[in-house]
């Protein structure tokens, strides 16, 4: 019944029960769980390499569609193929060739997923469930970039287009409906988030950085991304070091003795000195509060031993968080992200099922069946109306009209069916089936 010119040899070696016209979706990849960093590094694809590889792999007869995602934590090759085994082999040897790594070195670290497992894996990657830091927001952007690059190089077709778009909407849905990316999981972000809970808007808040240190500077950088008009003061025991730091953050250097005075203007104090003693005392904060007319003061004490007298927390409208407090905050947050991931997995399962329904509808047979059913239903309804309007038609007349309407349906179906079964040697059949479904408004049930 199938009349596939040029397709015979390809379909011949597939198992009989597999639908020959539907390609399989697959993913081949490595990530931070499957491979150590040095191996990931040696397999990472630059933008240039990804683009070239998409073009190269698309030419392989085993591969119908291809997309390459490469980040510092993962390399994923998403493909569709009528011969997944061959496609995987082709991709492996391509990686070995481009990255000049022997296949045996990375073979053990590779994972492959086919069918709905591949779909779910892509959804999990895009929604950051598979990320090293659960819920981190960058990965979706990276998937989008990878997709754009694959589209630009004609790597994708109907199936991957639909699949990748679906992964975007799944990721967005998970982000809005679950708390997976809600809470900060680094000290510096946790500090900024707390500041938001106190001040609301941070744009015009003044910041005082006391001392220096990686975490403190990171917190200042986060704050700087949000702030626009507020001042930034930098105090350091060695004034020259302070001047350098101030220049880096485009702030003002002040002397250590000026801290007390600056408390009157600054709103957020980030302290991280190596001092063995407290640097800021309760007796300094109290008068400053009066001077500030009780506008809140937020102290972030990242130093060990601590820089700020904990008694400051007892003053109205003054708040202190030290490193342990912040650590507790992020542990809570990681915990709650984890508990949210169960809900996210449910969303993914649901989306995967719905995608599978669409995917199966791309098969020729159900599409033709649905199309025939639709036309037959229309013909029957119209026939009924006509017969009712007629004045006592004889049984013979009715029979003749029934035969006619059946014949019309059959004749209308003939050419589209022939085309859908065989759109041409090198054409993507799923594209036309998708189009036909849209044209005749056949629902994915």
């Amino acid at each position: 019944m199938m009349n596939l010119p040029g397709g015979k040899s390809r379909t011949a070696d597939l198992p009989r029960n597999a639908a020959p016209e539907l390609p399989e979706i697959g993913i081949l990849g490595i990530n931070h769980n499957s491979a150590p960093v040095d191996l990931r590094e040696s397999l990472a694809f630059s933008d240039q390499e990804s683009r070239a590889s998409v073009r190269e792999l698309k030419k392989q007869p085993e591969i119908s569609e291809i997309l390459i995602l490469s980040t510092c934590n993962r390399v994923e090759m998403l493909f569709t193929s009528h011969d997944p085994g061959g496609a995987i082999k082709a991709i492996k040897s391509h990686i070995a060739e481009i990255k000049s790594v022997e296949e045996s070195r990375f073979e053990g670290a590779l994972y492959t997923y086919l069918g709905s497992e591949a779909v779910k894996h892509l959804f999990r990657v895009a929604s950051s469930l598979d990320s090293m830091v659960l819920g981190e927001p960058q990965i979706l952007g990276q998937v989008k970039t990878a997709y754009r690059s694959a589209v630009d190089n004609r790597g994708t077709g109907v199936i991957l287009n639909r699949l990748v778009h679906k992964s975007f909407s799944v990721a967005k849905r998970i982000r809005t409906e679950t708390g997976i990316g809600d809470r900060a999981v680094s000290i510096s972000y946790a500090a900024v988030e707390l500041a938001r809970k106190i001040f609301g808007r941070l744009e015009d808040k003044a910041v005082l950085l006391v001392g220096a240190g990686e975490m403190a500077e990171l917190a200042v950088e986060h704050l700087n991304r949000i702030r626009s008009t507020g001042a930034l003061y930098v105090a350091n025991r060695t004034f020259e070091v302070g001047v350098d730091l101030a220049r880096r953050f485009s702030g003002t250097a002040i002397r250590f003795e000026e801290i007390e005075e600056t408390l009157k203007h600054a709103d957020i104090i980030i302290s991280s000195t190596g001092s063995a003693d407290f640097v800021i005392f309760r007796d300094q904060v109290k008068p400053a509060m009066r001077h500030r007319k009780q506008r809140p003061l937020f102290f972030i004490d990242i130093a060990v031993p601590r820089d700020i007298d904990p008694a400051v927390n007892k003053i109205d409208n003054a708040y202190i968080y030290d490193i342990d407090d912040l650590q507790d905050v992020i542990e809570d947050n990681i915990e709650s992200r984890r508990s949210e991931s169960a809900r996210a997995e449910r969303i993914i399962d649901e989306a995967a099922v719905r995608f599978a329904q669409w995917y199966e509808s791309l098969d020729v047979v159900p599409t033709i069946k649905q199309l025939r059913a639709k036309l037959a239903a229309i013909a029957e309804a119209e026939l009924k109306k006509t017969i009712q309007a007629m004045d006592h038609p004889s049984a013979k007349d009715v029979e003749a009209m029934e035969r006619m309407s059946e014949a019309v349906v059959k004749k209308i179906m003939h050419d589209p069916v022939r085309f859908l079964k065989n759109p041409g040697t090198h054409r993507d059949k799923s594209l036309y089936i998708d189009l036909a479904r849209k044209l005749f408004n056949l629902e994915d049930d």
Binding site: L194, R196, K197, I198, F199, G200, R201, R290, R292, K293, Q294, R295, P296, N313, D316, N317, Y319, Y321, D325, D328, V329, D332
Partner: protein, 273 residues
């Protein structure tokens, strides 16, 4: 009992439920539908009041039942007007149950027929009542934000980052909203007291008669005046402002209800039942 009021109460009750759902599940559609429900209740409420006005040609503020009923209507109006402007999603969690409570209380308190004094009608009386009630509604919301502020402040000071910490907005936003409510409420309260005394002058020939209600209104007014003054001069913001807003509201409740139950005076019959 006036069963016409039931649909209104049901709307407010359902809105309270949805706001509670919003508090727990943080779905914004709960929040939106709750607002729509309050709006629906308010519309029915307005229609009922309109009929009432058409029948009696005066505001229904002659006994406790009517007063609560009318206060509920004003509170709903104020909440509906304020909510889109102030970005405190959680405000409804406080306001809707209060609204339900006030209207449900009106439902259960019998509407004793009181022959309105011929003198207790007229323009100044209407202004006096509407403005005072609107001010009180604002001050009720100020009390609500004050409570929310104290909860959130305790969370941040005590380093507890669970349920309410995540759901409540920033301290600054709560503080500013509370200040706005107090400022508006205080202005309305002042205007209400002035129109009230003008009206008193027309009816009884004097502005101030030392009636307990008047005295307690004065005390309430002074508390809020102190709050605003200290805020502007000494920067009483945050915790102290929140506490004072709650105390002020308590004084106001006493003025509204307590005075009538415990003392006597010419406002007496408005809370009779």
């Amino acid at each position: 009992m006036n069963y016409n009021l039931l649909p209104v109460i049901c709307c407010y009750l359902a809105a309270s439920g949805l706001y509670a759902g919003f508090l727990f599940f943080q779905r914004s559609k709960y929040n939106k539908s709750a607002y729509v429900l309050v709006l629906a209740g308010f519309v029915i409420h307005t229609v009922l009041l309109g009929f009432d006005y058409a029948n009696t040609r005066t505001l229904p503020v002659h006994n406790l039942h009517q007063n609560l009923w009318f206060a509920g209507w004003i509170l709903a109006a104020v909440f509906l007007a304020v909510r889109p402007r102030i970005r405190i999603n959680i405000l409804g969690v406080f306001a809707a149950p209060l609204l339900t409570l006030v209207t449900a209380a009106a439902f259960f308190i019998p509407n004793t027929q009181i022959q309105p004094h011929p003198e207790l009608t007229g323009f100044w009386l209407i202004i006096h009542v509407v403005v005072i009630f609107a001010g009180e509604a604002c001050l009720a919301l100020a009390c609500g934000t004050g409570i929310l502020y104290l909860i959130q402040e305790r969370n941040i000071k005590g380093k507890k980052h669970r349920f309410f910490f995540r759901r409540l907005p920033s301290l600054e936003l709560l503080d500013n909203a509370g200040y706005t409510f107090v400022a508006i409420g205080f202005t309305a309260l002042s205007a209400g007291l002035i129109t009230g005394s003008i009206y008193a002058h027309q009816v009884w020939g004097r502005f101030w008669s030392g009636d307990p209600k008047e005295v307690w209104s004065g005390i309430t007014w002074l508390i809020y005046a102190a709050l605003l003054h200290e805020r502007l001069v000494a920067g009483w913001r945050g915790r102290r402002a929140a506490i004072l807003a709650i105390i002020g509201f308590a004084a106001m409740l006493f003025t509204f209800l307590g005075v009538n139950f415990l003392m006597e005076g010419h406002h007496d019959e408005f809370t009779r039942w």
